[in-house]
Amino acid sequence: MNYPNPFADAIDYQRMEQHYDQEALDSLNAISPMTRTQQPIVTGTSVLAVKYKDGIMMTTDCLASYGSLARFRNVERMLKVGDSTIIGASGDISDFQYITYLMDKLMTKEYNANNGQPLAPENIYEYLSQVMYQRRNKFDPLWNALVVGGFQDGKSFLGYVNLRGTTYQSETIATGYGAYIAQPLLRNAVEKRNGEPLTEEEAKKLLDDCMRVLFYRDARSLNKLQRATVTAAGVNISEPYSLETEWAFAENIRGYGA
């Protein structure tokens, strides 16, 4: 590629600006900070998760969007890590695939070490949080919002970590549009129970209702979902399923039906 020579006497800055964006110009200019900005390319939307009586339940849809194009419609955005943890990912899917590779490497090392006890959900969460924050500090983030959920030794675990390395743990977690639309619904359902955990059926209905609203309102969602549970019996990620939706109202609207 023909880079302009910054030491040349006559540099046509006008012409240079036509070819190069601010990023490249900054890196040529030694005074500006080094930046490696990114943009997510193939992305997943919301991840929802709640703690319930037997453990935790997490839901994602099966869509990987390419901007506004619904490009890959059979994607698993939840990953099983060992027998007591799952990771749900939103954001850049290639970064999630890299995280999958890191998890495989981690679990192989643990298997070889033969430590007696498996890595707990909290341990995997801490490892991921460290990776995400360190990448953020290098200005080279993994462009994801991850939900780590698990159940071990009779205790549920639910944690969130994102591309900036921000972490939090809660009884209910939602990423993407879910954080705006579903989180209030999840919190309402859980917090008015005063510590009494949801049953499996209640958790299923709650998550399905939230995903239904998200399908109506999130323009980058798909009505093809997977539900995962982590309980004392282990990890179970369901086959894809669809929700019943109500679109008849569109018939009366000018431009859509009438």
């Binding site: 495989d104 490497k105 192989t108 298997y111 070889n112 033969n114």
Partner: protein, 257 residues
């Protein structure tokens, strides 16, 4: 019995007059001093076992494992110098992960044996390093089925149905040859391996503290390298001890005649 290698045995980079590299042969002697280690490749899996004489009552039982996992589908044990063995296991784990990084495929038995063989051989070339003082048994279960390889300190390796290393290995090998190795199942192999170790090591382990590790990779373990379940180990050791007593009784009966 050993020939004197005066002058020709000081470094790996010197041949003797009759074309031998004495340092490598001396390394093999180091292996012969190890406790008996057996590998058996059965129809549906591979069994590894190593007997260890516990040299101090202060050691925590079952805490110092010699048989290691290298990725989930590979088991490895290095009878001989323990520290050399650990270095080899570390290298094998690196090779296996490196292969997976490149091809997203668990490394096959043939390939890991080759990589380790080449690695061991490299340490026989220079006077600045010494050869590894351990043999390496590698048990794997991949697409081609179960396989067992053994690498000796020279870097030479072969695929085996059954092999034995360490004290009393000749007697152990003779016993292994008697087995129908093409038909035996992994479960049966565990029983036979226990029997062989007990019968061969009988005099050495009498009145001494000892520990025997058994691991396998087979259909029953989902093609993963794991310790043989303790109930099977107990059954195998019980039967082994019983057959020892039977042999003793037979000996007594012969004396009466």
């Amino acid at each position: 019995m050993s020939s004197i290698g005066t002058g020709y045995d000081l470094s790996s980079s010197t041949y003797s007059l009759d074309g031998r590299i004495f340092q490598v042969e001396y390394a093999m002697k180091a292996v012969d001093n190890s406790g008996l280690c057996i590998g058996v490749r059965a129809k549906d899996g591979v069994v590894l076992a190593i007997s260890k004489l516990v040299h101090s009552k202060l050691l925590v039982p079952k805490s110092n494992k010699r048989i290691a996992s290298v990725d989930q589908h590979i088991g490895m044990v290095c009878p001989g110098l323990v520290a050399d063995g650990k270095a080899l296991i570390k290298r094998a784990r690196l090779e296996a992960q490196n292969y997976k990084d490149n091809y997203r495929l668990p490394i096959s038995g043939k390939m890991i044996a080759d990589r380790m063989g080449q690695f061991v051989q490299a340490y026989t070339l220079y006077s600045s390093v010494r050869p590894f003082g351990c043999s390496t048994l590698i048990a794997t279960y991949d697409e081609v089925g179960p396989s067992l390889y053994m690498i000796d300190p020279s870097g030479v390796y072969w695929g085996y149905f059954g092999c034995a290393v360490g004290k009393n290995k000749q007697i152990a090998k003779a016993e292994i040859e008697k087995l129908k190795l093409k038909e035996i199942t992994a479960r049966e192999a565990v029983m036979e391996v226990a029997r062989i170790i007990y019968s061969v090591m009988e005099d050495d382990i009498k009145d001494r503290d000892y520990e025997i590790e058994y691991t396998w990779i087979c259909d029953e373990s989902n093609k993963k390298h794991t310790e043989v379940p303790s109930d099977l180990v107990e059954e195998a050791e019980k039967k082994a001890k019983e057959s020892l007593d039977d042999d003793d009784d037979d000996d007594d009966m012969d004396d009466d005649e």
